[in-house]
Symmetry: C2
Subunit: 279 residues, 2 copies
């Protein structure tokens, strides 16, 4: 797990950095971004929020466009933004934007040819945080959030491992992937035709039977082109209601699926995580 | 000057928009970005700050990466971000990144083949603000700022037209282009070998003999790779001292030439402009 630092940019008194490393779990080289707030300059350890990006994104989109560093610096939180899939010439791919590279869906693939590299669930849940916590001045207080496909990933991980995260949030998450075109296509490819294996990767199904409860915040733009067909926040909301899950879901009039939406509410999400990380 | 709106994204209660239009001055189609803060929703007119981008940039870099919309929304300021050169298949270009498309240097070219389209000075000074003020809910209170090549452009325009701008600021500007490789290459191509024509596009030479005085703020990262060879803030500072020009120049330890630097200090610059725009 040797790390190579590929860039450093001072940001709001802290440091935005990119690293590459070999991932054993994914069987390829990977990149991730980390923001270390100014509080770490003297060795102080800070809590970490992981951000999982959406379809077609890399480790760069969020860290360049979300404007998260300002509030992370103020709150004293590190942010880690991994890539969205395994990468490299020998990694299976598809010409569509919603399958293969850039579209790992944060699952552990069981089907060939995907299962050789597409183990994003284990990478984000285990290998990456172990590497981060062994390398950087961070505590083991973790929260997780994401956008769209990454919102799905963040919710699923927090719902399945409530002991690992203090809070979870999402912008425009794919809330019920077993019942939307993006999710059905990806799960069929990565997990196979047997739908009984899909349930452990569906936030609405998991939330409906959740026992341990990581506080959850979701923001959803009402002018989002993917709202009705792909995202289905109403399903997530119904699941939370059924199980009494602590979900706050805000519908935002006029906002779309873009990073302009994320940037508009990023401060709210970081404050939400900071409150729970320090509790 | 018919305008085509190519995108709208709600941002911090306001709207980030992109437009294309035919420029008479540049003799080609152009794109620009505008941020309209929430105060404009009910027809209220707001002041405008123009942002001029650096080498290789388009109308997109600043509006996506600088995180300016948050503070612009709070202060009630519109932001206009034009492209950095004329565009199109029949526009002269060069394979280097620092000449031709993406590198207009905000001058009116006098030399062939550049003079057919490269009239960025007139475009930014006249045609664009006329279009903006005829179209959007903005007042005629204008300020201007920019980055690197765009910081040069902003300073030159404010120094030559103190009646047109309430304030000017720059991140890492090319402070003395007649005496650095970027400036000498571009000015030779666009303006010709006769260096007497270069002086009207050099912020240090203009500031040294400035009479009217638009308040100026400059931030410069000390870890900027281009600092000593291309940017020369010390020349700008000496010029301000010689003429008593109201220049505040801050050197920022550890910051580089990137948008991470711009984002870190964007709030200071917008507050500076807001103070002068409302005075």
């Amino acid at each position: 797990m040797s790390l190579e630092n590929t860039s450093v940019n001072k940001s709001y008194g802290g440091w935005t950095k990119h690293y590459s490393h070999h991932s054993e779990v994914l069987n390829c080289d990977m990149r991730f971004a980390i923001y270390l707030p100014p509080q770490t300059a003297n060795g102080q350890k800070v809590p970490v929020v992981y951000f999982l990006s959406g379809l077609t994104c890399t480790d760069e989109n969020f860290i360049q466009k979300a404007g998260a560093q300002r509030m992370a610096a103020e709150l004293g939180i590190a942010i880690v933004a991994p890539d969205t899939s395994p990468r490299g010439d020998d990694v299976a791919d598809d010409e569509a934007y919603d399958l293969g590279k850039g579209a790992g869906f944060y699952v552990n693939a069981t089907q060939a040819p995907w299962n050789r590299h597409y183990q994003m669930y284990d990478y984000v849940m285990n290998e990456l945080p172990q590497l981060v916590e062994a390398t950087f001045p961070v505590t083991d207080h973790r929260s997780i959030f994401g956008h769209s496909m990454g919102g799905h990933g963040a919710l699923v991980m927090a719902l399945r491992h409530p002991d690992r995260f203090k809070s979870v949030s999402a912008f425009s998450p794919i809330g019920n992937p077993v019942d939307c075109p993006w999710g059905q296509k990806a799960f069929t490819a990565y997990l196979g035709e047997d739908r009984s294996t899909w349930a452990e990767y569906d936030a609405s199904l998991l939330m409906r039977k959740a026992s341990g409860a990581v506080p959850a915040l979701v923001d959803q733009g009402e002018a989002d082109n993917f709202l009705a067909e792909q995202l289905k926040p109403e399903t997530l909301e119904a699941a939370a209601k059924a199980s009494g899950y602590p979900l706050e879901l805000n519908r935002r009039e006029g906002y779309d699926h873009s990073y302009y939406f994320i940037a508009s509410f990023i401060d709210d999400h970081l404050r939400f995580h900071a409150k729970h990380l320090s509790a």
